[in-house]
Symmetry: C2
């Protein structure tokens, strides 16, 4: 069975790691959000691709959940001394990836090709596909009338100012590899990621939703017991949807193509609901990630 | 008295350090060779500017004579692991300079402006002027028929294959600041640098030689007792000029605008020669550099 996984950053990478441990790599393709990508210090940074790649390679910082383990900050300290912007933390080993990505992009490689090269260098066997090879920026429109790129809102503003709505600027064309992977897929799993920031940038690409409609799609809730494991999702649900943070609030954004929503056992109602399955979806370690992955594969009959 | 200094890499930076200690900074402008500049890993690297800047700032690696003291190599090691070219050594702190230079160049600043910013960040008060704001590459034509950029010959080939002649490719326009500095100068000092690799790329720029002709010009020999303190100059004199390595072999390349050649006391003939002055020109430490600088300033009446 050919599976496609749709994933974003830290949460998405955790379930992906479980799936990678449970599936033969030739049967699993992960389409990764690039709406958070941005240029910084002249380098092209793809945070969600790197978080996925580092997690699969086992070199992720286990405490922060992003960046490299055993990292040093010598270039960063020197850049600060030279007056460069220091609001975005870049470690030395992490920076090598951005340098090599940027260099290859500038010499004409696509982001898809560069990602393939980097994955190979890191020994990552699962195919990671950037959602598109062209810029598509997740753009935050705030309740106070300001608007800014996602990283500015998340890092510079601490993810605090209420969001009115989210826009995707730039291309609406997925890469040909993304469409081909969906065309070849037997089922799709959507990771426990922020819908506006990670999933919708992908599913609103031209031709993606219509393909999802034709496939069995399972999504894992990024909300457990009214909270998000990581990130500003609860306040975004409040400010954008004027709703409490529930799995159903998230799944409502996937209407039209979602078949099954997986919620945490803590959120399970007394009796089963159609289209909802309860499972332990907190993913603190590889055992929990593999366990959920196995459960999802069982549901799909894989 | 307004002085202009023409300098290249390691040797040039040593005398410049002495001059900077003996002259008020507003009276000293150093024009620096950029013929060795090249792009590597997508970064724009200006080796002679950096060597001059690091030497003046007191952060140069005192053993290697280039790069930063107390350097680390974390990005470099990771780049090797990613399959990047590893023939040119780039330390972490050094890399920050290249990153910031490249970023500023890409956003439209000139190399002159970027150099000014970097010097300010390093507390360097002497004005360092890149010889030009546009690419001009020192290109090595080898006796075996091959030709290549300078860094390829020096680093990849170890500076070993005999050189037939040297070409300067690219712009022949100096920066406006270079011409203005020469127009305002009362005298010029040429550092003890490789003539083909460091000095001639500057003096063959349009309008430079004619200005040098009108000014008192002193050059310090890069050859002492038949050897070069650093680098492949002796073999270049042999292969290009078919001569022994003497100060006069170097000074012959400056015919037309050189007034006084300063040779080492070891090379002094029994009786004085017109246009030649003997002094201790080995520059191992700041005391020796200041001593020679003072001597040159005395000769010029500064």
């Amino acid at each position: 069975m050919k599976l496609v996984y749709l994933g974003g950053g830290v949460g998405g990478a955790k379930l992906l790691q479980g799936l990678a441990a449970e599936c033969p790599p030739e049967n699993l393709t992960a389409i990764i959000n690039t709406g958070d990508d941005f240029e910084h210090w002249g380098l092209w940074i793809s945070p969600d691709i790197d978080t996925s790649m580092y997690t699969l390679a086992g070199v992720i910082d286990p405490v922060k959940g992003w960046g490299r383990a055993e990292e040093s900050w010598n270039v960063f300290e020197e850049m600060k001394a030279l007056g460069a912007e220091d609001w975005f933390l870049l470690g030395d080993r992490d920076m090598a990836v951005h340098l090599e990505r940027t260099r290859r992009l500038r010499t004409g490689s696509s982001l898809t090709e560069v990602t393939q090269h980097l994955c190979q260098a890191f020994g990552v066997k699962v195919r990671l596909l950037p959602m598109t090879d062209k810029p598509r920026a997740t753009w935050m429109h705030l309740a106070d009338g300001r608007d800014m790129p996602f990283q500015d809102w998340l890092v510079k503003e601490g993810g605090v100012p209420p969001v009115a709505y989210v826009e995707y600027r730039g291309t609406d064309a997925p890469s040909p590899q993304v469409l081909a992977a969906l065309d070849a897929a037997d089922a799709v799993i959507v990771g426990p990621s922020n819908p506006w920031v990670s999933i919708l940038p992908m599913t609103t690409l031209r031709g993606v939703a219509e393909r999802l409609k034709r496939l069995p799609v399972i999504a894992v809730s990024p909300i457990i017991a009214g909270t998000a494991v990581k990130g500003p999702l609860v306040s975004m649900i409040a400010s954008i949807l004027q709703q409490q943070a529930t799995p159903d609030a998230v799944f409502s954004l996937y209407a039209g193509w979602l078949d099954t929503g997986v919620i945490d056992v803590q959120d399970a109602p007394d009796r089963e609901q159609p289209g909802r399955i309860a499972a332990p979806i907190l993913l603190p370690d590889l055992a929990a990630r593999r366990h959920l992955a196995r459960r999802l594969l069982d549901i799909l009959g894989a």
